[in-house]
Amino acid sequence: MFHLLFYTFTFLTLASALLVVVSRDAVNAAMFLLLSLVGVAGLFVMLDAALLAFVLLLVYAGAVVALFLFIIMLLDTRPGAQKPFQKLTMAAAGLGGALLLLGVGSLHARAQLPAAEEGLAVPSLKAYAQQLFTTYLLPVQVVGFMLLIAMLGVIVLSKRFETAEGGA
């Protein structure tokens, strides 16, 4: 059962990711991105991180992919004429691919990975909260500022200004 679920989610993740990369239409790509995310969320659950899986779906499926779809519809882009790739790009991609495969291969062969610790409790919501608000309080503050500037940025980039003096 465990194995079956694992391989299903793996397949879902990787196959949809491949389809994101190759699909010609941006809408399809967004839908496959969503599927891929579902696969990753499944893998999260198998790693005892159900909370993260939930957050992932919430943020990505609920916000990011929805935003993508919204923008795609808004812009109403035509599917781009699929030009053949340039030779140089292909060569670079081929080289990169070979290197990556080599990397994955050696990851499998050479990496000394720690064995799983048995009997670990599934981390509770409280444990996450404790970490976030003690050890990682400063990054939380910084992320707060980051969200603020992101919001301001989106306003500055999108709002119509009537006069030269106009503030956002």
């Binding site: 994101v20 891929s36 957050v55 990011v64 781009g80 799983a116």
Partner: protein
């Protein structure tokens, strides 16, 4: 065969690679952006796996930060793409070449 850390790592690496090639090969900025998200997700997968197998929670906590950052990045990025589309009426990277001398 037991499902171990290396399985998750290989999935993560493959996902990362797929995203990377998407960024490299695709011309539609929106799709390029989705591929960038794939790369970030790949990292979070590895992070959660490590966190689980190391027995430290820090990795999982980091995922919160990554997700927040990714969401902010998407918001800003899409705002730029929309603003650019209003000016140039395209989202194809190869048509965005006004900055060449």
């Amino acid at each position: 065969m037991n499902v171990g850390l290396d399985h998750y790592l290989i999935i993560s690496a493959l996902l990362f690679a797929l995203g990377f090639f998407g960024v490299l090969l695709r011309k539609n900025t929106l799709v390029v952006y989705m591929c960038l998200e794939l790369m970030l997700i790949a990292s979070t997968l590895a992070l959660v796996a490590f966190s689980r197998f190391n027995g430290t929670l820090d990795g999982s906590v980091f995922v919160f930060f990554i997700l927040t950052i990714a969401a902010a990045e998407v918001a800003v990025g899409l705002a730029i793409i929309v603003a650019l589309f209003r000016k140039r009426h395209t989202v194809q990277l190869e048509e965005l070449n006004a900055l060449k001398h």
